[in-house]
């Protein structure tokens, strides 16, 4: 079957088996290997991309269901020459060790900063109406991205730094 996707602003038509995940389409068909396959079961977050602007696990998306949708991957938010504010902050704060989870962490954090600026609540928000970007909030909102090297404190520092830059 055929599916058309806009990935990082560019339209692609891919031919695929109905079983194809969006993750495999990105990595194997479009050769966008910045998005990582960790668990392939929605548990680790390494495959996080933005789907029509919202962060999702691309391993739990069937490509067939996303005809006409827009996808943004880590390749779409910055380049080695022009890093995004979050990418810069992860380098600055050393927000990784092995780096395998980093693209997913950065895609997830990119969406998270927007969500909190739009007032989206979390389970740990004291007040569902006015969430604030505290360390506790960041830990809760990033819980879908595992880091087996456990660089979490530095990841949160990097996100806090990027958030200050953008304000």
């Amino acid at each position: 079957m055929k599916t058309t996707l806009t990935v990082n602003g560019e339209a692609h038509e891919v031919t695929h088996d109905p079983r194809r995940s969006l993750l495999d389409t990105l990595r194997d068909d479009l050769r966008l290997t910045g998005t990582k396959k960790g668990c392939d079961h929605g548990q680790c977050g390494a495959c996080t991309v933005l789907l029509n602007g919202e962060r999702v696990n691309s391993c739990l998306c069937l490509t067939a269901m996303h005809d006409g949708d827009e996808v943004t991957t880590i390749e779409g938010i910055g380049s080695p020459e022009r890093l995004s504010a979050l990418q810069k902050a992860f380098v600055e704060k050393d927000g990784y060790q092995c780096g395998f989870c980093t693209p997913g962490q950065i895609m997830s954090a990119t969406a998270m900063l927007r969500e909190i600026s739009e007032g989206a609540p979390s389970y740990v928000s004291d007040d569902l109406e006015v969430p604030k970007l505290t360390d506790t909030e960041m830990a809760e909102r990033m819980s879908g991205n595992l880091c087996r090297c456990s660089a979490y404190p530095l990841i949160r520092e990097a996100i806090a730094m990027a958030s200050e830059v953008s304000q």
Partner: protein, 334 residues
């Protein structure tokens, strides 16, 4: 994953004879490990009549395709049914909640390890072959409402809050008729057919969930106990909406999660609280009444004291006897 035929539904009538997919966050996982092997998959995500949240008088109608994230963040839900926002936000991760739908969340499958392990027998996977959890291990198994054929618990936080809020499930039948089923009647106990989890029949489609009018002034709590601070299923949870006049509890709506094959309710407990002065002694009596029955499996016996303490803590929160962090008061538009 086993091969399947994929089609996109153009109308609600296209779902008969096929496995419905919407968010796919649970189904695709189960298909990858071949616990579920549908031959036909019908994608309902383009059915626009299943989208959106709308007021129905004082009630709220939530389309079946509304995502968990959109529902939890909806301004009307945060104000009128904050218990539902908290419960949804207590479940899964943001990535999952951005895809998971209202209808799909109600129909998510158990996380019983034997259901997931195709090398073990499971009556929910293959009716009649046996239950490996009997005599096996499983601290996530259910405490109440089980049968000798199945010990699995329903893991949904959202459904537990909806049970406390007395929601209804709107279903379109294959005939085209629409019915509304109280959530308490929507799930079936396991009996001798644990593979049949709800009253839905082939060709039925969940179209919406209806919340009754908000209870102005009610204090609401979703208290979830789990093995890690976030992104884990509940061991036990308590959804509470409590109304008071002075120190007297005038109404308590309660439901309990991850302890039964479906959101659990206990009317005796709710009635014990009504009309009584809030006190620790009262809450202890309610907790004892809730957990009188022994666990069906030694590995879940720990859930009895845990559930008692969680109920007491939730009631202390809701009535102001304890720390009130994470407690929300229902507001209604002026």
């Amino acid at each position: 994953m086993r091969p399947f035929d994929y089609s996109r539904a153009d109308s609600a009538k296209d779902v008969a004879g096929a496995q419905i997919i919407a968010g796919g966050t649970n189904l695709l996982d189960l298909m990858k490990i071949q616990v579920m092997t549908p031959e036909k998959l019908v994608d309902i995500t383009r059915l626009s009549e299943l989208t959106g949240i709308s007021a129905e008088g004082d009630r709220l109608r939530i389309g079946a395709l509304v995502t968990n994230s959109a529902l939890a963040a909806d301004a009307r839900v945060r104000a009128g049914w904050p218990l539902l926002s908290r419960a949804i936000l207590a479940g899964a991760s943001v990535q999952i909640r951005n895809k998971a739908t209202t209808g799909g969340n109600l129909l998510q499958r158990t996380r019983c390890p034997y259901f997931y392990d195709t090398s073990q027998v499971c009556n929910k996977r293959n009716p009649g072959e046996g239950c490996a959890a009997q005599g096996g291990t499983g601290r996530m198994l259910a405490l109440y409402g089980t049968s000798e054929h199945c010990l699995a618990a329903h893991p949904s936080d959202m459904a537990t809050a909806m049970a406390a809020l007395q929601a209804e499930v709107e279903v379109m039948r294959a005939s085209g008729d629409t019915v509304r089923i109280p959530l308490r009647d929507f799930y079936r106990g396991p009996g001798d057919r644990p593979d049949i989890e709800t009253v839905l029949e082939d060709g039925d489609l969940i179209t919406a969930v209806i919340l009754p009018a908000p209870r102005a002034g009610a204090r609401q709590v979703y208290r979830k106990v789990r093995d890690r601070a976030s992104y884990a299923f509940a061991l036990v949870s308590v959804a509470a909406s409590v109304e008071m006049e002075g120190d007297t509890i005038t109404r308590a709506q309660l439901a309990y999660g991850s302890i039964a094959p479906h959101p659990w309710k206990n009317h005796e407990v709710a009635e014990m609280l009504q009309g009584q002065t809030a006190s620790d002694a009262l809450f202890h009596r309610a907790a004892e009444a809730l957990t009188r029955e022994e666990a069906p499996h030694p590995d879940t016996e720990y859930k009895r004291p845990l559930l008692r303490r969680t109920l007491i803590a939730a009631l202390r929160q809701a009535t102001g006897l304890g720390d009130t962090a994470g407690t929300d008061t229902v507001r209604t538009p002026a």
